[in-house]
């Protein structure tokens, strides 16, 4: 790593031209960001517009509210409810166990093996594709999976006596938790790091027990971060597609899978834009959740940075 000063080589000083100060809207500097904005316009803004405008588009090309009205259909409402339930349950499970794991990790040495291994593992599991996770669970709990076979042969329990639940909502809950917990660890760990040891020591010296410290100091301080992280987990589960797509081949219990069927199956006449309406519905739900998350984040960073 070279010393910074030796990087500034240019020996001949160039005369500095007087720069036009202040933000003129059409300054030449704007040219520098044109590629970025152009790219984003084509691949992000336009698709979003397609979804939004398409939701209001009728078969003939006119503006209609039929698609939005169709969102009130039983099977779509059910799908939304199930998506919300799935996201809420896995968000809470992930939040509780993830917070526990994050707390366990943060009490150890910041440079220790445990912390580094756990953080790396969580990084992988939180980001990595749903297909591999789905197959991992098929290998574990599938009809001929390791645990299924073990329980059947060694312990005499047939976990599928009541039906194969792995490829339906209960299975999704279990598999989603597998990436929700690591995501919680990643998102919540910085907040835990922000808790200064002096606070605990001050609370102790003032006479507070451990329980009192958690109830009156650490609890209130971590609450916004915890809630925010739970919301993030909710949005994450709600948006997830790949895991469900790989596990569920029959039926479309949740909204992303409904969108899949809208895109890939035969289009019912007059309802091509249902998929777009559902997509818009999803965006609204996720946007609300993310906005709440942002509000809570501001509170957290005020206290714990």
């Amino acid at each position: 790593m070279t010393d910074r000063t030796t990087l500034l080589v240019d020996p001949a000083p160039t005369p500095t031209t007087p720069r036009r100060r202040g933000g003129r809207w059409f300054s030449r500097d704007l040219l520098g960001v044109v590629p970025f904005f152009l790219f984003v316009a084509v691949f992000l803004v336009i698709p979003t517009l397609v979804v939004v405008i398409g939701s209001f588009g009728g078969t003939g090309g006119g503006v209609t509210l039929d698609n939005l009205a169709a969102l009130g259909d039983d099977y779509i409402v059910d799908a939304f409810l199930r998506s919300i339930a799935l996201s809420a349950v896995t968000a809470m499970l992930g939040a509780i166990f993830g917070a526990l794991l994050a707390y366990a990790v943060v009490t150890g040495r910041p440079d220790g093996v445990v912390r580094r291994a756990v953080t790396a593992a969580c990084g992988v599991l939180a980001q990595f594709g749903g297909v591999t996770l789905a197959f991992a669970f098929i290998a574990t709990l599938g009809l001929s999976g390791f645990v299924t076979v073990f329980l059947r042969d060694q312990v005499g329990i047939d976990i599928y006596s009541g039906g194969v639940w792995l490829f339906d909502l209960p299975g999704l809950v279990l598999v989603y938790t597998y990436f929700q917990i690591p995501l919680m660890v990643i998102v919540f760990l910085p907040a835990l790091d922000g808790i200064r040891p002096q606070w605990r020591e001050a609370a102790e010296s003032l006479g507070g027990s451990t329980w009192y410290y958690w109830r009156r100091v650490a609890g209130p301080l971590l609450a916004p971060a915890f809630l925010g992280a739970t919301l993030l987990l909710f949005a994450n589960a709600f948006s997830a597609y790949a895991t469900a797509a790989a596990l569920v081949s029959q039926g479309s219990p949740i909204v992303p899978l409904q969108i899949r069927s809208a895109l890939t199956s035969e289009v019912i006449l007059g309802r091509e834009n249902i998929g777009k309406a559902m997509a818009l519905g999803m965006v609204v739900v996720v946007a609300v959740v993310m906005w709440l998350y942002a509000v809570l984040q501001r509170r957290t960073s005020r206290w714990l940075d």
């Binding site: 002096q198 020591e201 102790e204 010296s205 003032l206 006479g207 301080l221």
Partner: protein, 361 residues
């Protein structure tokens, strides 16, 4: 006030390979403010934290008010503690922070509030009671921390370098405030710092620590004027290290015969004398053996570095008005006042007096 006596006996603590405390003995009389002074790593903070109950000692006794508190957890020791920084609870206002200990003790809301306001007034920050810590400056935060610690009427007040994170000017201001408040409230106080000026200004007694042991403890004047060891002489204030010769109960330095500090145990022969700059007089003299090398203007005083034959350098402290008579290259005569000096038998410790650690005047 319920001030008590504190006694630390034979306190030892080891962290891995480092012996942080090595049989420390320390007594605090009721209502006394003792400052523990020393470089980082000398064990002063460890001693304070053991007294607070935030650390365990390996061996030794901790007596507060005559009772052994080793088995008492930190939250029952009834001590108020002020940390170096970051100790205020960020989600509570200044007032709520101060109320924290009182709320814990289930005091009624009205009494709590009144007491909290009283404490905030005492530390001079009553107007900011409803502010949050992030809205307060460093000095203001430490005032709130002090109010919070005193609100519970602790038996002992513990201050862990409370001024080290503050600006120089705020430090001096707050330092006087702390002393005023401590005298008013009368709590037995242990104050830890690495700034010798702070310790000298604040304390009833100053304890100089090094490598887990107390080198000297006594009133500030004693520690300054009669340092027991070269380390103390060096750490507290500036010292010139001048070559000299011990004999007949005095030491001969730069042609002057100076008395030795009581209790000096150095054999006759060559030695190093530690002479304070204010004991060195510099007078312009065309026949003088010395030559002015450099001068620093420090406001009311000035420090002049004089080069003497034999590669010796001496730093003298004079009234700054005299600077005009002593520009660089002036020939000068150096006289030493007949004040007792500390002598070290180790000749190798002679060094450039300008680079000593110690006071920042």
């Amino acid at each position: 006030m319920n001030s008590v006596a504190v006694r630390l006996e034979g306190l030892s603590r080891r962290f891995g390979a480092v012996q942080a405390l090595d049989g420390l003995d320390l007594d605090l009389a009721p209502g006394e403010l003792v400052a523990l002074l020393g470089p980082s790593g000398c064990g002063k903070t460890t001693a304070l934290r053991i007294l607070a109950g935030l650390e365990d000692a390996d061996s030794g006794r901790i007596m507060v008010g005559g009772k052994d508190v080793a088995n008492v957890p930190a939250n029952r020791r009834d001590m108020g503690m002020v940390f170096q920084a970051y100790s205020l609870f960020p989600h509570l206002t200044a007032l709520e922070n101060v109320e924290f200990g009182l709320r814990l003790r289930r005091q009624a809301a009205a009494a709590r509030r009144a007491r909290a306001h009283e404490m905030l007034e005492l530390v001079g920050i009553g107007a900011h009671a409803t502010r949050y810590p992030q809205q307060l400056s460093g000095g203001q935060q430490q005032r709130v921390a002090l109010a919070r610690a005193l609100a519970i009427q602790p038996q002992v007040l513990l201050l862990d370098e409370p001024l080290s994170a503050l600006d120089a000017k705020v430090r001096v201001q707050l330092r006087d405030e702390i002393r005023r408040i401590q005298l008013e409230v009368g709590t037995t106080t242990l104050f830890v710092t690495h700034d010798q000026e702070e310790a000298l200004a604040l304390a009833d007694r100053v304890g100089v620590m090094r490598a887990g042991r107390l080198e000297q403890i006594g009133p500030p004047e004693d520690v300054y004027r009669s340092p027991a060891t070269p380390f103390v002489a060096d750490f507290v204030g500036l010292s010139n290290r001048l070559p000299g010769r011990v004999g007949d109960g005095i030491v001969e330095v730069l042609g002057a015969r100076l008395p030795l500090v009581a209790g000096t145990d150095v054999p006759d022969g060559p030695a190093t004398a530690l002479v304070r700059p204010e004991s060195v007089d510099v007078t312009a003299d065309p026949d003088g053996a010395g030559r002015v090398l450099a001068a620093s203007f420090l406001g009311p005083m000035a420090r002049i570095t004089v080069a003497l034959p034999g590669d010796t350098l001496v730093v003298a402290q004079v009234a700054s008005a005299r600077l005009a008579d002593l520009p660089p290259e002036t020939a000068v005569r150096v006289d030493l006042r007949p004040v007792p000096v500390v002598v070290s038998g180790d000749r190798s410790e002679t060094a450039d007096p300008r680079t000593h650690s110690g006071a920042e005047l």
